[in-house]
């Protein structure tokens, strides 16, 4: 390229670390069952580490069968004796309290979230934690208004919900799970992902502080095994899971033939489509936000980019330019854009896909940015010269890796975008309204972002078509999976 803009400069930002002084963390966390901290009957603990430094932060209990039994029992008891008897109004007030306490401790929550997950502080501070509080606030208000959400239907709560949350948005996904469950009148046994238990445990403290009746929310930590025990427990009425499609299928098999209701929020491989008449600079920002938000650990990430051929060169140039000012590194630095990969395991998965992409003949591009020596890191990556049949264009990578393809016509891009077993989300960029509505109605996806990407709100239903799962979280629609009707 003849005129390449040089983004190097002798004016560079200094570190701007968020202070960690005000946070209170224990060295060792037990299980939160029946409103109390109890030692795991399994006797086992595991370490949770900071993926940016590989240093241990705390030990966390690993719940075994007896512990899960105790948690479900506590939840069942709370459901039978207290929670199901409480009026919606009173339930709502408890949930409001939780929302308020999260807001009050927002800073502490965001710092812990970033320490434990590798997520950048800018995102945990501005997105994850405020949105988590907003979810509780939103659903609190529903608790005494359920009848208006389902005309002619007499909604009733289900009982005990087993909820399993992922490591990509630890606290936010917990809010997505717990808030509607409580508003609908259920009690909860929740297991956070094993690499990111800390904000869940911090939330347990908030729940205690809010004075929620004992056993209404129980938090057990552990690995997939613990989750399986919860799902299979006979006293569970509802299973809510966010995670990979693979694990979702295992869960669906294990509850086959039972009356357990389920919500599955699974994987995705979203198409982000840029038309030649799009506001290109904002589209580029949307691409960046679509794939590099949260290190690409986003089920709805815009991981397949489709660019109309006539603007391909321009978009690629703008995209590469924009990538020059992405800071990769310390998640606690307020200026960091891309933090640490959540775990060694996930980093291996991403690196494998990068190898696969190269082997498949796609061309890789990464900006020249420095990454720290210790910890788990992946530079923002894009692949060009990608074919629809390439694995990097088909499979969910769950990392900061973008596969770029081109298209010529509307028809072609709709076909390619829908040509996937997933159907969680999609993006469309064009200045032409009628084209937007054509695309948004034809794309088989639960969330379509037009001229924007990766926006979330408690009032906005989220969830997928096809193998991306079933049920919705958020909005009025998010209540239904936690209720039964005559």
């Amino acid at each position: 390229m003849k005129n390449k803009i040089d983004y190097s400069s002798d004016w560079n930002l200094d570190p701007a670390p968020e202070s960690t002084g005000h946070i209170k963390l224990k060295k060792k966390y037990d299980l939160f069952i029946g409103g109390k901290w109890v030692k795991p009957k399994s006797g086992k603990y595991f370490a949770t580490i900071n993926p940016a430094t590989e240093q241990k932060i705390a030990d966390v209990a690993e719940a075994g069968q007896a512990d899960v039994d105790a948690a479900v029992k506590a939840a069942k008891k709370a459901y039978d004796t207290v929670w199901s008897k409480l009026s919606g109004k009173e339930r709502g007030k408890y949930i409001y309290r939780i929302a308020r306490l999260i807001q009050e401790k927002a800073r502490e929550f965001s710092v812990i979230e970033s320490l434990d997950s590798g997520k950048v502080i800018r995102e945990s501070r501005d997105i994850d934690i405020p949105l988590a509080a907003a979810h509780f606030f939103y659903y609190a208000g529903w608790a005494d208004k359920l009848a208006y959400a389902f005309p002619n239907r007499q909604p009733k709560s289900l009982g005990v919900a087993a909820q399993i949350t992922p490591w990509n948005f630890p606290m936010l996904m917990i809010a997505w799970k717990i808030a509607p469950a409580l508003a609908a009148g259920n009690t909860v046994v929740l297991k956070p992902a094993e690499t990111t238990s800390l904000t869940a445990l911090k939330l347990a403290e908030v729940i205690q502080e809010a004075g929620l009746p004992e056993g209404v929310v129980n938090i057990v930590t552990g690995y997939g095994k613990t989750g399986a025990m919860m799902v299979e427990h006979k006293d569970i009425a509802k299973v809510a899971f966010t995670g990979s499609t693979g694990v979702g299928k295992i869960i669906m098999k294990s509850i086959a033939g039972t009356n357990k209701k389920s919500t599955m929020e699974l994987g995705g491989k979203a198409a982000n489509i840029i038309f030649e008449d799009a506001p290109l600079d904002q589209a580029v920002e949307g691409i960046i936000n679509g794939i590099y938000f949260n290190q690409g650990h986003v089920c709805c990430a815009g991981s397949r980019l489709f660019v109309q051929e006539s603007v391909y060169d321009v978009v690629l140039r703008k995209l590469k330019d924009r990538m020059e000012s992405l800071y990769v590194g310390d998640p606690m630095d307020k200026n960091t854009d891309i933090g640490a990969i959540n775990s060694k395991k996930q980093l291996d998965v991403i690196n494998d896909y990068i190898k696969i992409g190269k082997a498949e003949g796609a061309e890789i591009y990464q900006p020249k940015c420095k990454i720290p020596k210790k910890g788990f890191w992946c530079k923002p990556t894009l692949f060009t010269n990608v074919a629809q049949s390439n694995r990097i264009a088909q499979e969910e990578i769950f990392g900061p890796v973008l596969a770029i393809q081109t298209f010529r016509t509307v028809d072609e891009v709709i076909t390619k975008a829908n040509n996937t077993p997933y159907g969680l989300s999609a993006g469309v960029w064009t200045d032409k309204g009628s084209k937007i509505f054509n695309l948004t109605s034809q794309l088989k996806a639960g969330v379509v972002w037009a001229n924007t990407y990766n926006k979330f709100d408690p009032t906005s239903p989220f969830g997928g078509y096809k193998e991306s799962g079933h049920g919705r979280e958020g909005g009025l629609h998010g209540l239904e999976p936690y209720l039964k009707f005559d």
């Binding site: 390229m1 003849k2 005129n3 803009i5 040089d6 983004y7 190097s8 400069s9 002798d10 004016w11 560079n12 930002l13 200094d14 570190p15 701007a16 800018r122 501005d126 008449d277 799009a278 506001p279 290109l280 600079d281 904002q282 589209a283 920002e285 949307g286 936000n289 140039r317 330019d321 020059e324 000012s325 307020k334 200026n335 200045d431 001229n451 924007t452």
Partner: protein, 299 residues
């Protein structure tokens, strides 16, 4: 060559622009970077007085300030330029002689631009003949809104011709353009017509410079650079009165156009009260204490 249809200039989405701006304003500029940024900002200021009540002595005072921002603290840079009406150019040129500070003159029936081309050319000629180093012209917004883009283009080209080697800053008066799409369109017209700088505002209309408007113009400059290889300067003017905001402008330039634009040859702040706030911040960094306005001269 077929006439260019400026209605085809790239589209801009306001919410998306704001999203990008938010990413920049959330950056945290600390310590050495902050100090360096503040010094850089001072050196990019076009210290401005454009009042009906301006007098020779007012202009002289300002010229002194441009060269001696805070005499009790040595080592400070000068501002980039002083910006005055054409009739004060002579005085200003004399006052800043040898300091490296440039004299910019507004011209072309500033601020409204409502006059004939003859008058505008004469206005420009007077400024240039009196020794102005830079001319800040306004575009004909009325013609622009009527869709007479070629008129606007040709007028700028004529003024540029009259400027000769004197650098021409073209004021779009974005506060009167109404949408980001039109800001982009006006930027494209100005650059095509020979602008050396594009500038947001006269300072007489609100809103004046904002980060989103500036970003739209910076993106236009970038596209123009890729297309022609020619660097165009940027000057947000009006409404930039505090240091933090100035630093965010600089970051925006860095992240959009790279380090090469981070000098007063390519970036200016049109501001009169910014300098003191930057000075206060520099003093705060030096002394560790927050400052009072009473300790900094108002000119």
């Amino acid at each position: 060559m077929a006439e260019k249809d400026y209605r085809l200039s790239p589209r801009v989405d306001q919410v998306g622009i704001q999203d990008r701006v938010d990413r920049i304003t959330k950056r945290s500029v600390k310590n050495a970077a902050k100090r360096k940024g503040l010094y850089m900002a001072l050196n990019m200021i076009d210290l401005t007085t454009l009042e009906g009540a301006d007098t020779d002595s007012k202009v002289k005072q300002m010229c002194y300030k441009a060269q001696h921002l805070h005499d009790s603290f040595p080592g400070l840079p000068t501002t980039a330029a002083v910006c005055v009406y054409p009739n004060f150019v002579k005085t200003a040129v004399q006052e800043v002689k040898g300091s490296g500070v440039k004299v910019a003159s507004v011209a072309t029936a500033f601020p409204s631009g409502q006059s004939s081309l003859e008058i505008k050319l004469l206005d420009t000629k007077i400024a240039v003949d009196n020794g102005a180093h830079e001319v800040d012209m306004v575009i004909s917004r009325g013609k622009f809104h009527s869709g007479e883009y070629n008129f606007v283009h040709d007028e700028i080209a004529a003024i540029k011709e009259a400027c000769g080697k004197v650098r021409l800053k073209v004021i779009l008066e974005t506060g009167e353009l109404g949408t980001f799409d039109k800001v982009r369109r006006a930027s494209d017209i100005a650059m095509d017509a020979g602008a050396d700088f594009i500038k947001t505002s006269t300072g007489k209309i609100s809103p004046a410079a904002t980060l989103p408007v500036t970003l739209v113009m910076l993106e236009a400059i970038k596209d123009y650079y890729y297309k022609t290889g020619k660097m165009i300067g940027m000057k947000p003017a009006g409404g930039i009165s505090n240091s933090k905001l100035a630093l965010h402008y600089l970051l925006m330039v860095k992240e959009t156009l790279g380090g090469k634009w981070l000098s007063n040859e390519w970036f200016r702040f049109g501001a009169s009260s910014l300098a003191n706030d930057v000075l206060m911040q520099i003093m705060k960094q030096e002394s560790g204490n927050y400052q009072s306005k009473d300790y900094f001269s108002k000119d």
